[in-house]
Amino acid sequence: MKDFDALKDIWHSQAAAPKLGYDDILKGIRKSRSNFANKLLFETLGALIASVLFILIWINSPSMMWTTHLSLLVFLICCFYYLFVQFKDYRSISNSEHLLKVPREYIEYLKKYRRNRYVLNTSKYLVYSIFIGLAFGLYFIEIYFSSPLWQTLLGLFAAAIWFIMCWFIMRIYIRKEQEKLSDMIEELERLEKQFGE
């Protein structure tokens, strides 16, 4: 039979030590910083290239119907919105001030963050997809008047397939995310309760 002091002696006799040294940590810091910057840069560039492409189409097509103008405007707004959301999210992740809060408040933050991510990845993404679909639809109105019918139909068909696929994938994704979110919130509330006792 051992008492708590004996357990304390065992604890202090442990040879278990971190595998990582100070240099490894510094290397990790530099690496994570460049990974973060690269990912952000990659996504920003992607959205910027798309935006420039839409602007070029806009400038270089002199006689446009109002539906095409509206379509390109929706595309551009979608690109900038995507860029804004990604940037805001990365800023939130890299800002570690909330880690200095007491655990209960930190758990509250985690719950809020998870819920926000869920809304972003489900409802907001669905709205985003609908607007992209709408922009495609508007764009094809001009194609219908200026190009052979088969081209319009082909384009419309491709856009419709893409739209239906998004809808189906999103439905599965939303259901899975909802289950995952419920588990996480349940787990976090359990932890919160432990700190509150």
């Binding site: 065992i10 007491v102 976090l188």
Partner: protein, 164 residues
């Protein structure tokens, strides 16, 4: 003192204790190293805020505790328990009696609730109660009661396992 020199000093003074806390929480060496690395990454990011703080270790511990809590988001509790059992079984033959006792102690800690694991790791590392209260955000009076209960629970689990 420049940032890197200050960080080195902080790392040397705290890394072992933070690693023990993470190991106690996860019951897994690799996960403990990952969490410790993440903790010090956050310490680095917040180093300028710490410069004038008297109790820097309190902040580091709090970051470590919160980092451990967020680790639970991706790890399943059951899987973790199985992992701890596996460590004890597979490494059992190659380790000395002393190390076996340490491994058993970690296994017993893994049977506690998450908050209890965090608190007991700090108690075992002999942090003052006032500091543990500050880190965990639990009132000192409440904490004393908790610690008394956790000590009793851990001792009981340990003795139960040791008998077999």
């Amino acid at each position: 003192m420049n940032k890197e020199a200050l960080f080195k000093e902080i790392f040397k003074a705290n890394s072992k204790k933070i690693y023990h806390l993470c190991y106690g929480y996860t019951g897994d060496d690799d996960a403990a190293n990952d969490l410790m690395q993440e903790t010090f990454l956050k310490v680095w990011q917040n180093l300028d805020k710490f410069r004038n703080q008297a109790m820097i270790s309190t902040w580091i511990y709090r970051i470590a505790v919160n980092t451990c809590l967020s680790w639970l988001r991706v790890e399943k509790r059951q899987a973790k328990d199985e992992l701890t059992d596996k460590i004890i079984e597979t490494k059992g033959e190659e380790i000395s009696e002393k190390n076996e006792q340490v491994a058993l102690l970690y296994k017993c800690i893994s049977k506690l609730e998450e908050t209890e694991r965090i608190i007991i790791s700090m108690v075992l590392d002999e942090l003052p109660y006032a500091e543990i209260a500050e880190i965990s955000g639990v009132s000192e009076g409440n904490l004393r009661v908790k610690i008394h209960r956790i000590k009793h629970k851990l001792t009981e689990i340990y003795n139960r396992y040791e008998r077999f």
